[in-house]
């Protein structure tokens, strides 16, 4: 291909990627190196608020109030702070302290067993917001990915062996979980598992006793992971099902003639043929999983299961600090790049080697 033709083809995509991905990302990075707020001073303020039935209450208290410039506008502070936002978000100092803490003795002076030491270490590390969020984010990514691949593949094989007329409705029905808005899906799961909600009541009638699903980390995390599998499996299914349509029929027939069992045909022909699709789904899902947000928000965020995306939202919403939220977002991007680097490397190698 001529260089000119090549650039004519590639140019528009590069331009779009630069303007929609690179530029905003650089903007967020720039923000994350700064701090911004209105300058305040503590002033005595008398405030009057209504109570009830026409009564009011007057309070005199010392509260931060904006410092005004000569035009009466609040003075804004905008400072370069370097890596400070990154430092407060990731708290490497706190991590180092947790890692280097002396754990040779338990609280009552007994020599600690290995299990106790590890438990103490785990508690201290995950007590730091960022590392606690990272823990569940990774757990979610690593638990859901193999499940959606396997279940998606089994579904695809099953649907592919159905009679033609039944496929359409079944594909449509199995896509539904993926179409549902994540926050609605999460809420439905939350409602299903409340005190006397459908699932809890059903299990009780079946003699499983009263189970409280929302009372500790284990069950809440399991529910979030189940939600993830339920929500994303259709995506894997539909891609693999499309892939199945491209499996060469003659190879399968030849294998059948040679006496290969159904399992052998799947193992030695279908799965290798779909290899690239498996990596593609893994890649996309890891990226999505790393940004898990809605179920964490719905299921009592941050106590039983936290995520990096929720942490960014928390900083933006409750601390009202978009510069620091920017640092948190950049850390998420870096995390995704690290997580995906083995796959990206493999793709790069394959591309270089092939064609």
């Amino acid at each position: 291909m001529k260089k000119k033709t090549f650039f004519a083809f590639v140019g528009p995509s590069v331009l779009v990627m630069l303007s929609l991905i690179a530029v905003p990302l650089l903007g967020v990075f720039y923000l994350s190196l700064h701090t911004s707020h209105v300058k305040t001073e503590i002033v005595e303020v008398k405030s009057v608020v209504p109570l009830f039935g026409g009564l009011t209450k007057t309070t005199v208290q010392k509260v931060p109030q904006p410092v005004l410039d000569e035009k009466g506008q609040p003075v804004k502070v905008w400072e370069f702070v370097g890596g400070r936002n990154f430092d407060t978000v990731a708290d490497p100092g706190g991590l180092a302290k947790a890692l280097s803490k002396d754990r040779s003795q338990t609280a009552d002076g007994q020599p600690a067993r290995l299990g106790q030491k590890l438990h103490g270490l785990y508690r201290d590390v995950t007590d730091i917001d960022f590392w606690g969020a990272l823990e569940f984010t990774l757990m979610y990514a690593f638990f859901t990915t193999p499940c959606i691949l396997v279940i998606g593949f089994v579904l695809a094989i099953a649907v592919n062996s159905l009679v033609q007329w039944a496929r359409g409705p079944i594909i449509f029905a199995s896509l539904l979980p993926h179409i549902i808005t994540p926050v609605v899906g999460s809420l439905s799961i939350y409602w299903l598992f409340l005190d006397n909600a459908v699932v809890a009541a059903l299990l009780e009638q079946l003699g499983a006793g009263k189970i409280y699903f929302l009372k500790d980390a284990v069950t809440i995390r399991a529910l979030i992971i189940l939600y993830g599998i339920w929500h994303v499996t259709p995506f894997a299914f539909v891609i693999l099902y499309a892939g199945l349509q491209t499996v060469p029929k003659d190879a399968l027939q030849a294998a059948e003639v040679d006496g290969a069992s159904r399992w052998q045909r799947i193992r030695y022909i279908v799965i290798p043929h779909l290899g690239a699709l498996f990596s593609f789904i893994t890649l996309i899902h890891l990226m999505d999983a790393y940004r898990i947000f809605e179920p964490v928000l719905v299921f009592g965020s941050n106590l039983f299961a936290n995520s990096l995306q929720y942490l960014t939202y928390y900083i933006l919403h409750f601390e009202d600090n978009y510069a620091k939220a920017g640092a948190s977002a950049i850390l998420t991007v870096i995390g995704i790049i690290i997580l995906l680097s083995p796959f990206l490397y493999r793709t790069f190698r394959d591309q270089k080697g092939g064609h």
Partner: protein, 411 residues
């Protein structure tokens, strides 16, 4: 027949806005963009504002659960896309401290008579009127009158008495748990902490500063009381929010809770509730005997953004049309309205009694949202038994200090 009906209906719908427009008293022309949270009384108010649309006057209302976040961003912009924004005592303080909302004393004077603007609706910072409030809300005691009668129990007035009553109701078979509570980790449980801590006489800040003081003995006592209460609640308590607790009541699962007054009318909603007429409302219990009720009073109101690009006089008139006496009269039970034409009902009894007994207002300080968030993010670890009360308060304190320093509230 059907065709004629449809035609008449269409004609009415077509003419109605014009008729209302002519009758409305909004002077002037232009565009007014309004953003509010989404709950029943605001739906009523916004519907009223929407009726003002006529030639030369365009009123657009947006109701959103994420309004608070959007308002924070919009009012900080060089040109705010909204001319009228709604908020509460938690959200007004950071907006006021950032200079993002403007005083409206002149407009209040101009329209005081026309709209009968009452003194009890005005939110003042110093001499500046920064908001017009329309309703109040507070958490207070909801209890099952029938079960209290059956077991011959007196209505508890302190949280210690609540514990004693809960113990007696433990054996009651028609319910599952004696107590409910909005203990969901995060905002809800922090709100419960604020209620109880102020009731204990606790101070959130060192005098005259924004430095935290809630990592204190009163803080530990507050957490310990909350944990004692949790023992009488559903094991899921740390995942249950206001709506979930409301449903526990409606399904007859619990006998008592400190719940929002805005949910009181829902107890008698026959479509949802199995306990119509069985719930009574009382003053929020005190944390210490003889002390104020351990709850905080909230109000909701409207503000004018500093950087609005519309006409402030017009925006003010639109606001007052939405808050006029007729609206309150026609929708009496939708909220505890602040206007004196409001007729208190049995649903407002608990909130009124709490206000009369001296319940404090929710702290109106700009740094308080950060305190609330830091507490909500950290005390769950204690409630779930993962760490000590002291440790979780120290974590909350450290989180607040970091956040407040970054926003310049403490040095």
């Amino acid at each position: 027949m059907k065709g004629i009906l449809a035609m008449t209906l269409a004609a009415v719908l077509f003419l109605a806005p014009a008729m209302v427009g002519a009758a409305s008293g909004v002077q002037g022309s232009g565009e007014v963009n309004v953003i509010t949270n989404s709950f029943p009384s605001l739906e009523v108010i916004c519907a009223e504002m929407d009726k003002l649309n006529r030639d030369g006057l365009k009123v657009e209302t947006k109701l959103s659960r994420e309004a608070e976040q959007e308002i924070k961003q919009a009012t900080a912009a060089a040109k705010c896309p909204y001319d009228l924004v709604q908020g509460a005592n938690s959200s007004i303080a950071p907006l006021q401290a950032g200079g993002h909302i403007q005083p409206m004393n002149d407009l209040v004077e101009k329209y005081r008579d026309k709209y009968n603007i009452e003194e009890g609706m005005l939110i003042r910072f110093g001499d500046d009127i920064m908001a017009i409030a329309f309703q109040v809300n507070a958490q207070h005691l909801f209890y099952r009158k029938d079960l209290f009668d059956k077991h011959n129990l007196a209505v508890p007035t302190t949280w210690d008495e609540v514990l004693a009553v809960a113990e007696k109701l433990k054996g009651e078979e028609s319910i599952q748990f004696p107590l409910g509570g909005t203990f969901k980790s995060g905002w809800n449980i922090a709100q419960e902490f604020v209620n109880m801590y102020l009731g204990m006489g606790g101070e959130f800040f060192k005098p005259g500063t924004a430095e935290p003081a809630f990592n204190s003995e009163a803080g530990v006592k507050t957490l310990e009381m909350m944990k004692k209460l949790m023992a009488y609640m559903s094991p899921n308590a740390l995942s249950l929010d206001t709506t979930a607790v409301m449903q526990q009541f409606q399904q007859g699962q619990i006998a008592m809770a400190n719940l929002w007054a805005s949910r009181a009318a829902k107890m008698d909603d026959a479509a949802e509730s199995k306990v119509v007429g069985l719930i009574e409302f009382a003053v929020a219990p005190s944390a210490v005997k003889g002390g104020p009720p351990a709850t905080t009073l909230w109000w909701d109101g409207f503000f004018l953004p500093t950087t609005m690009d519309g006409d402030r006089d017009l925006a003010f008139q639109v606001m007052m049309e939405g808050l006029k006496e007729e609206v309150v009269k026609a929708n009496n039970d939708e909220a505890i309205w602040l206007r004196s034409v409001y007729q208190p009902s049995r649903f407002s009894k608990g909130a009124a009694a709490s206000a009369m007994a001296g319940a404090p207002s929710y702290p109106m300080k700009p740094q308080f949202t950060m305190v609330h968030a830091a507490i909500g993010a950290n005390i769950g670890d204690f409630m779930a038994g993962k760490e000590s009360a002291e440790k979780s308060l120290a974590d909350a304190e450290a989180a607040y200090i970091t956040a407040a320093k970054e926003k310049g509230y403490i040095q």
